[in-house]
Amino acid sequence: MTAHQKMDKPDTRNRLDDMRQGLVGKPMDRPDGPLKVSGQATYAHEWDIPDMVYGVLVRATISKGRVTDVESDRILADEAVHAVITDDRLLRRPAQGGANEAPPQGSKQVDYFGQPIALVVADTFEQARHAANILPISYETEGNAAFDPEAADTETDTPEDDQLDQGDLDQAMRDAAFTVDQVYHTPGHNSAAMEPHCAIASWEGDKLTLRGSYQMLNFNINELADALHISPDNIRMLSPYVGGGFGSKLGLSPEAVAAAIAAKDIGRPVCVALSRQQVFEATMRRSETRQHVRLACGEDGILTGLGHECLVSNLPGEEFYEPVTQATHFLYGGENRKLGIEVARLNRTCGGSVRAPGEAVGMQVLENAMDELAEAAGIDPVELRKRNIPEQHPEKDIPYSSRRFTEALDEGAKLFGWDKRNRKPGATREGDWLIGHGMAGAARINVLSEAKAKVTLLADGSAVVETDMTDIGTGTYAILTQIACDMLGLPADKVETRLGDTDFPAGPGSGGSWGASSSGSAVFLACEEIRKQLADKLGSKEADLTLADGKAGTGDKARPFAEILDGKEISAIGHIEPGKTMEDWQQATYGSYFAEVAVNAVTGETRVKRMLGVFGAGRILNEKTATSQCYGGMIWGIGSALTEELAFDNRDGHIVNHDLAEYHIPVNLDVPQIEVVLLKERDEFASPIQAKGIGELGICGAAAAVTNAIYNATAIRVRDYPATLDKLLVGLPDE
């Protein structure tokens, strides 16, 4: 049986509030925890496959041109080397998230420095790595490559449906009491998930099993099938544990196709893992951005004009571009608006989704500009934001779904002690340290995605949840278990959630923060169907069922499921689809950040001393895992504010700092004890479980709270991220 719901109208039943088991929302430990802390969870590289050999990808060392010769014979002389794969099906670029088809293939053409151009397969990893390193490659270079997004001769294009010109912003700027007109830059970022991308391919006849590290198996299987020119029916993909994704594993990446081709060619299972350097060069980067922000307001601080015009970059032919203005469209009012995105076409590593594409860098800059406007208008930054929360969508005639922005701002200000801060920039010093406080708003669009999940109530009264949905650290194992527990009245140890297997019903994949609400809704719907069938067996109505602790009914009348089921099992597939509520209501999640920083008056080094985030993201399914997601986002914000930057060499477009020694993600000492507060909220428009996404909200503006605090500490506005010490030195007090 399939239970289907299309989200065409709000679901106000709030059924999960009434379930007696009462696990949803609770800070339940992750069921996958014991496996993970003991090293027993099986990640992509860790399957015990007999007869397996190792493949290592070879990188292009030119930026644009053609591979004219690969001298395979030079390494094939070594009998340990099995193959040099230069097949036309090799991926030149990774697939974008949700592509559902193969990305550009054929590695003879080189589009960027570091592009995979061949795979070397040998008995051992050590042999393959060395052979790949010495494989002689000849190239024909094309001289017209572009590396600098802002160079005069770089080609750009403007995606038609992402340009808005409403009213007259220029006039609004002229008429305004206060304005901000600034250009900001954010650098490229790398997802830097701790587990490097990896795939193990093994064939039995025409059937391919690919064990890999991917976020969206429902799409990845079609991307792989298309790339290999085979039917997805002949493929099984497995990703039960994924060591972090953050966008970099949304689409299929080159190792998967290379492993599959090689395994078929040599007739043995092949394991291909990317090196950390290859993760930087050959997966996805977040585009750098140039953002021109114009804000105009009256004496009262109410926005009359809002401009957000951005330049981003990607490889020629890529449809994806960093959607920088995504939240700018709906967060604040202002009738005169000019929002636009221009895409520079560069020969650099492929641009793609990195945690919270759009808002991660767009909100960070918009919230800097709002801080500048608050300063100019002499209005408290919290108050300024509250005054500019619009009643209706400022560009479309639609209302908002549940929105806890005001509450997040007020609650954050109260908990942080915002009123106690010194408003005067550069005026608080403790020894060598300048102290400052800053805040920012948070906003991220909310998306529901089509999802299916199968739930089976087994004859023994326990249950199994199955979907190809992944858990990339987000807590999927926990929250799907909790939903099934509550809906079926089972304790946590009686529900087993199985994920990451394309033999299971297609989930939504982990990305865009839609995973929990979408796959959670699918599980919810499947469980509703099972409840109906249980009710039928009991001769009662589904709505009247009281299920808890593996029994139906209450008190002496409670009957164990095993007894009711009488040796049979009940299974159902839940199927959720997005519908009209996504178009007819502006759905988003909101929050606020407050930060205290100390900037060293001598060196310009910044330390975050305190940070608070208050978030409203609909129903919280697991307080513990949701809080951890927010920590993660906020700490990414700290990295984005202070340290993270892909450094490109503009002579050949290569990533100079392509490792974890020189691409500085925050370390433990960079991070204080962060505080996260989750507001109570039910968004009836978002999903039948009234939940929204929370995986990315924590980063969407977080960096601005830090840099606004740096301004308060030092009176220096850093508009060129990250705020490394060199950018502060010039403005610090004399030595």
Binding site: V656, N657, H664, P666, L725, L729, E735
Partner: protein, 329 residues
């Protein structure tokens, strides 16, 4: 990583004999294996010296300390005598790398740590240090971590370590044994080389030379400070570091030893700066003159220009702290 023959040294004579015959020593391996994986270094033979008897810290006859070449960074920093008599050295070591790396990295190996220049690390890039004569990509490229002092037209790489910077301020000597069994002492300032026309040579070691110890002179009076500036709070290389030992005599500076990390191809020491300070009363003007002297010939290459004002500020700040009235030893 290229294939290599592996052998464990039976004793020092065996080790130096093998090294004289083109083998490369491996001790902690934390930098060597890092570079071998990338084939930046491609030795044909490795001689493992970890089980040689060079892991002791012992007192010298004149009241100093002899730190065996295989003493790990962790053991060195935690040694009671070093913590109490050479706190600068403990502080410098603890400011470097991570707990795990310090547990493996050795005293001798750390002295031989190679540069972190991004272009040196990437075999697709020309680099005079890795491939003499191929050119320097850092000079006109991204050079945030590169040298502002003592660089050459061939190379602007920096020595990345912290330990040796403190050892430089401490006037340490390096004990080296060659394959003939001869032992010599080299002042640490003479150990590392400036790049000049031969950036491929980091230091004075010749084939067969084995660092056997670092000799610290007897403890000196004065305030000891190690300040390191970096791009994140921990686990990052120095953009600039200052090791200072300053002794006051009443309100005048009796002696000063200053060494700098992150600025040059070697731990940088400029005795003219120290001379300028000695016998003077601390003042903002004096410290400014010291910084002027230190940075007189400093040159930035674009992304590392900031190191010049940064170093100036850090030096002045360290001198202020070191000469404060009541500054304890």
């Amino acid at each position: 990583m290229k294939s290599f023959d592996y052998a464990r040294a039976a004793d020092r004579a065996d080790a130096t004999a093998q090294a004289a015959n083109s083998a490369t020593f491996i001790a902690g391996g934390t930098n060597l294996l890092d570079l071998m994986k990338l084939e930046v270094m491609t030795p044909d033979r490795l001689v493992d010296i970890n089980r040689l008897d060079l892991s002791e810290i012992s007192a010298t006859d004149d009241g100093g300390l002899r730190i065996g070449a295989l003493v790990t960074n962790s053991d060195c920093a935690a040694d009671k005598r070093i913590r109490s008599d050479y706190p600068l050295l403990s502080r410098a070591i603890l400011a470097g790398a991570s707990g795990q790396l310090r547990n493996k990295a050795t005293t001798g190996g750390n002295l031989c740590q190679r540069t972190r220049c991004y272009y040196f690390y990437d075999t697709a890039m020309p680099c005079n240090k890795r491939d003499p004569g191929s050119g320097c990509q850092a000079m006109n490229g991204f050079n945030r971590i590169h040298a502002i002092l003592g660089a050459s037209d061939a190379c602007i790489a920096t020595y990345p370590g912290d330990m040796a910077v403190a050892m430089t301020a401490l006037d340490s000597q390096i004990e080296i044994e060659n394959s003939a069994g001869e032992i010599r002492l080299v002042p640490i300032q003479e150990f590392h080389l400036l790049p000049g026309d031969h950036p491929e040579k980091d230091n004075i070691l010749e084939p067969g030379d084995l660092i056997t110890a670092v000799i610290l002179p007897p403890p000196v009076d004065g305030k000891q400070i190690y300040q390191k500036v970096r791009d994140r709070a921990s686990y990052a290389f120095a953009l600039c570091s200052v090791a200072a030992i300053v002794k006051m005599d009443g309100d005048t500076i009796a002696s000063a030893a200053l060494a700098f990390g992150g600025l040059a191809h070697k731990p940088w020491r400029d005795k003219t700066v120290e001379k300028l300070l000695v016998g003077q009363q601390p003042s903002a003007e004096l410290f400014g003159q010291a910084a002027d002297q230190l940075l007189e010939e400093a040159q930035g290459y674009g992304s590392n220009d900031f190191k010049i004002p940064l170093t100036r500020r850090v030096l002045i700040s360290v001198l202020k702290e070191a000469t404060q009235a009541g500054a304890a030893a």
